[in-house]
Symmetry: C2
Subunit: 254 residues, 2 copies
DNA sequence: GCAAAAGTGTTGCTATTACACCCATGC
DNA sequence: GCATGGGTGTAATAGCAACACTTTTGC
């Protein structure tokens, strides 16, 4: 037994599809070897063991590519989960682990990461070679945050909800939303994102006043085109300026 | 090799001695077996491997008792450190690990916890049986945060500084300071603590106004006694009320 | 009586809230 | 011409920052 048998990462990828807040989950399916009937199926976070010589964040990035096709996104470590029985609280988890020849009573610590991305930007796909023909993870898909599937692997529902509250806090003090926004964006879009994530609404005029006071949100000499309404001013987020401002004044953003 | 060989916890215990902010460190000493001369000595955070059947927070509490004598304090998980070479970047770390028959190139993930306590409340002492007679940890002691020792084990200096910034953020949004304060306290003391931790000063009148508006800081029918100045009103922190208020309104405290 | 910390109010400024209408565009 | 989201100002209120003197006690 080795380091990699005891440590894993799990990724909670939040996606905004310009309508709603979503989370990326895989389907975990176990088939009967003989009949090929489904024994069970539930949802699981993209995650995997950390290889012996792999930094933990690299492991998180690797599993994302392997199980979702998402590449090159910033990941935020939020919490480590180490309950003794976190892999063996549900019957189907035990069944699953036994079948991949892992002892369900063996302890695996998992480091949780979250991210916020544009849900429309990626074609989701599993590229990882699945080692057990009748047990596999498939169908990475976005699930609305308001209707999280009941049945999830291990302690993943707990991990998901904790990530959600880290996201909601994080978004208030860190420029997380600019990690998902296109280079050029309108204030209307920005407002919609904040409203969706925080599940609230803001007054348009007050919101704009507040954001326009931030020096790192800089107007471009460019407007929207071909929209069926008054074209909006485009802005960009200046990361360098943001870093400068942040050094002096810790609490910015909403 | 087992779970416990790959996962550890480290505790960054901040102490306030009613003057300055301190941090609790142990001395790590290695002696020459023959001459008993000191080969090296540096500082190390209280930490240890997590036992196979031990929850991670329990491990953190255990090592605190074993290496410092501090019992029953709230611990806050803040970050997990997993760099591949975090145990082998310094010559003396390699020497140390070889002598306790641990492979320096072996990877150990460590989960960091921090806490804030009254530095005067505890008699510090090491009770853990030290297994290698010429290599030991001793002398738990408070070190001023402004003069952190240069020489520290592994990546412990990094862990310490990251903990410090989590503390400084945490104290603004969570009632951490009330975990260290005596049951009955004065507003003057409260202000001094915030000023020390955040390394700033506040206007007395504005500070009091702000804190007295918080319903969970409740005045007692009692004043200081036998002080060589006007005796101050005593207050207590009502944790139940705090929980209630917090449910509605997420961002409180300073 | 003096040293030491407690306690207290006001003012100007800044930030926040609440609120309603016209504008430019594509179809 | 109508539907769509963009864009704008003001007034009332609440919160924040800056400021100095009196009080009570122990010694």
């Amino acid at each position: 037994m080795d380091f990699q048998d005891y440590v894993s990462v799990d990724c909670v990828i939040f996606g905004y599809d310009f309508e709603r807040l979503k989370v990326l989950l895989l389907e975990r399916v176990m088939l009967d070897q003989a009949t090929h009937k489904v024994i069970f199926s539930d949802k699981i976070l993209p995650g995997s063991h950390v290889l012996n010589n792999e930094p933990i964040e690299a492991a998180a990035k690797r599993v994302l590519v392997e199980f979702t096709g998402i590449e090159d996104i910033p990941l935020h470590q939020f919490k480590t989960f180490g309950d003794l029985d976190r892999l063996s609280r549900q019957e189907r988890d035990i069944l699953w682990l036994k079948n991949i020849h892992q002892d369900p009573s063996q302890r695996v610590l998992t480091v949780g990461f979250y991210s916020l991305v544009d849900a429309n930007k990626y074609k989701l796909s599993v590229t990882k070679q699945q080692t057990h023909p009748e047990m596999f993870k498939r169908n990475p898909a976005w699930y609305d945050i308001e209707t999280i599937p009941e049945e999830m692997a291990y302690d993943h529902k707990q991990i998901l909800y904790e990530a959600l509250s880290y996201l909601r806090e994080g978004v208030k003090y860190n420029p997380l939303v600019f990690e998902l926004l296109p280079e050029k964006f309108t204030l209307g879009l920005l407002q919609k994102i904040y409203e969706t994530i925080l599940n609230t609404t803001f007054d348009k005029r007050n919101f704009r006043r507040k954001l326009l006071k931030m020096p790192f949100i800089v107007p471009l000499e460019e407007k929207q085109q071909k929209v069926a309404h008054k074209p909006a001013q485009l802005y960009r987020f200046d990361w360098k300026l943001y870093q400068q401002v942040k050094r002096n004044n810790h609490d910015i953003m909403l």
